[in-house]
């Protein structure tokens, strides 16, 4: 197929349909709404299930139902919607059925705004819902990547009987880029043997997340954790840019990573030995790769569109072996290449120790900058 100019949300939605999506349940919310609108246009025409639910709470529980029936079901929303889905997500995880959830992130907390943000990283990675469960989280950074990883999301969800969250920001959802859609996947795979489809010619199936005896719940928690550990072994994905023996390592995901790639390119032009690691799976996080890089680089700069959430996972992995600095823009502000370039320049000159929270210095810098603005 030739490339078309595709709008993120619509492309993701179409990719899901072609990956064999059976049912979409959602509720409109900027900047994810075109996702739902595309489903509304396409699914009824091809006889698959679409409902604009009364709320995100209802939507996720419809997904829960369809998933229990062994079908490929998904929803797409933004931060506030994910918060309302937290209980349902925890139930799906606890019932060990597959589901795919897309979060097109916007500025928060609260109502915040509808501008692109990465402030839902914690919520996605640490699990916004209650109890011990571990969603897989994918963070594509181009429309083409998103198209490819939406299909992967379903495969992973089914392989690990897990919730898979696709985490993009409003830029990704709203932008148009040339990209290629996969062909329509042939439908009607047999329902998995655990699905509820009516107990005909087989033992009945019961799907629940209740284990009233703590001992049973403990075994369940352990089973879920072990599956997660498997994923940690097999499913780590990331992309690297200008990684010719770098002295400085920039780490960023999604749009932040993509913008950083421009800055890194420009910095290389200036002769700064800097490379970029862009995690595509945020959970599992590319820990092993980062550990390797710790032996090569002199300093690390983490760039995010939040107050430093992935930073936690970086620090946990780096274990103080390399100084880590942070640069973040907040509340819906997308950093621009020149800012990040300035940061790279600064970091490449900075030989100082980093003690305490790397965010302390950044907060001062950002504040000065904002004062500058004002």
């Amino acid at each position: 197929m030739a490339k078309e100019l595709l709008k993120g949300n619509e492309a993701f939605a179409e990719a899901a349909i072609r990956a064999g999506l059976d049912a979409f349940f959602g509720y409109p919310i900027t900047p994810s709404t075109e996702f739902l609108e595309h489903m509304a246009k396409r699914l009824p025409k091809i006889g698959r299930a679409f409902i604009q639910a009364e709320s995100e709470v209802a939507a996720i529980n419809m997904v829960y139902g369809a998933a229990c029936a062994g079908k490929r079901a998904m929803t797409a929303t933004s931060g506030p919607g994910i918060s309302l889905m937290s209980e349902g997500i925890s139930y799906i995880a606890g019932t060990e059925v597959p589901a795919v959830i897309v979060n097109v992130m916007r500025g928060g907390p609260g109502l915040g705004n509808i501008a692109p943000s990465q402030g839902d990283y914690y919520q996605a990675i640490k699990g916004g819902g209650h109890g011990d469960y571990f969603p897989l989280v994918l963070a594509p950074a181009t429309v083409q990547e998103a198209i490819d990883y939406i299909a992967l999301a379903f495969d992973l969800a089914e392989k690990y009987l897990s919730v898979v969250i696709v985490l993009v920001d409003g830029n990704m959802g709203q932008m148009m880029e040339p990209a290629e859609l996969p062909p329509m996947q042939e439908e009607s795979k047999e329902p998995p043997e655990w699905a509820v489809t009516g107990a005909k010619d087989r033992e009945r199936n019961v799907l629940t997340s209740i284990y009233i005896d703590p001992e049973d719940e403990e075994i369940t928690n352990l089973r879920i954790l072990k599956r997660w550990k498997e994923a940690e072994k097999n499913e780590v994905r990331y992309k690297e840019y200008h990684m010719e023996d770098p002295e400085i390592l920039v780490i960023g995901f999604g749009t932040a990573g993509r913008v950083a790639s421009s800055a890194v390119r420009d910095a290389r032009d200036e002769g700064i030995a800097v490379g970029l690691l862009r995690p595509i799976t945020l959970a599992p996080f590319p820990e092993r790769r980062l550990e390797e890089l710790c032996d090569q680089v002199r300093r690390i700069l983490v760039v995010e569109m939040n107050t430093g959430m992935m930073l936690d996972d970086v620090l946990k992995t780096v274990k103080g072996r390399v100084p880590v600095e942070f640069y973040g823009r907040l509340g819906g502000v997308t950093p621009l290449p020149d800012e990040i370039l300035d940061e790279i320049r600064r970091v490449s000159k900075n030989k100082g120790e980093m003690k305490g929270d790397p965010r302390n210095e950044w907060m001062d810098r950002l504040e000065k900058m904002r004062m500058g603005d004002a």
């Binding site: 709320s55 419809m62 369809a66 229990c68 019932t95 009516g198 107990a199 009945r204 019961v206």
Partner: protein, 257 residues
């Protein structure tokens, strides 16, 4: 010259599993379960039926009703049932919900399932209280009724009035069959069973949302003996929650069961 023939007048229904239920002695949840099992057996639906259990005392309904089952989040059974029915339209899908589950936390999901005319069946147990959590006020708790969260009796000025779900849901254009019955004695139990039968018939015929509200007892949290509790249902609840057919679409009216 006289012969006699021995017949079994009544026996435990097929679809009722062989386990001792966790319900308190005299709790009418058991009666409701049994009626559902009987209707599903008589209609031969067991192999295509998917039940949706609520969060409430009937959370373990799936341990007693011998068919495919899922367990929903508190109040969300109608949404979960919707998700299932939309991808398995040929199957029979029903929810079984208490009054806290359906009328309090889950009122949005039930209203909109009815509004969409979701082709599912809802068995709604109205026992005027939260059983599982130990006797708090429900939206259906009667005025002045004492519960652990209305220890001085439900003050309608502060805690509001009992919600009449059958009446409300009957107003939704999407609903095909919405009635209220009671489980307080044998003849009412027989009527309740007929209603449950009609509700499932409605679903089999694709006639839209069907719901049977069943006035039930909670001897434990009402602090009554099982029989006192049934008397309370008859004397105190029926007047507030009148029994009757609130919505029966024509296609069902002259259906004999």
């Amino acid at each position: 010259m006289v012969e006699t023939k021995t017949e079994v007048v009544y026996q435990r229904p097929e679809s009722f599993t062989d386990v001792h239920t966790h319900y308190c002695p005299g709790c009418t949840h058991g009666v409701a379960h049994r009626l559902v099992a009987e209707v599903i057996d008589e209609m031969g639906l067991r192999e295509k039926t998917i039940g949706v259990a609520p969060v409430g005392c009937s959370v373990f309904a799936y341990e007693y009703l011998d068919m495919d089952f899922v367990e929903a989040a508190h109040g969300r059974a109608p949404a979960m049932a919707t998700g299932i029915k939309r991808v398995l339209p040929q199957n029979t899908v029903f929810t079984y919900q208490g009054d806290g589950d359906l009328a309090s936390i889950g009122i949005a999901e039930i209203m909109h399932a009815a509004g969409r005319g979701e082709n599912i069946t809802v068995i709604f147990i109205n026992n005027a209280i939260y059983g599982m959590t130990g006797g708090q006020m429900a939206p259906t708790t009667l005025a002045e009724m004492k519960t652990t969260s209305s220890p001085y009796g439900r003050d309608v000025e502060l805690a509001g009035y009992p919600l009449k779900m059958a009446e409300l849901l009957a107003q939704m254009e999407g609903s095909g069959y919405v009635v209220r019955r009671s489980l307080h004695d044998a003849s009412n139990i027989r009527k309740a069973k007929k209603a449950i039968r009609l509700a499932f018939e409605a679903q089999e015929r694709g006639l839209g949302f069907s719901l049977v509200e069943l006035l039930s007892s909670c001897p434990t949290n009402w602090n009554m003996s099982p029989q006192e509790a049934l008397d309370f249902v008859r004397e105190k609840m029926v007047p507030v929650f009148p029994l009757g057919d609130y919505k029966v679409i024509p296609a069902l009216e002259n259906l004999r069961v």
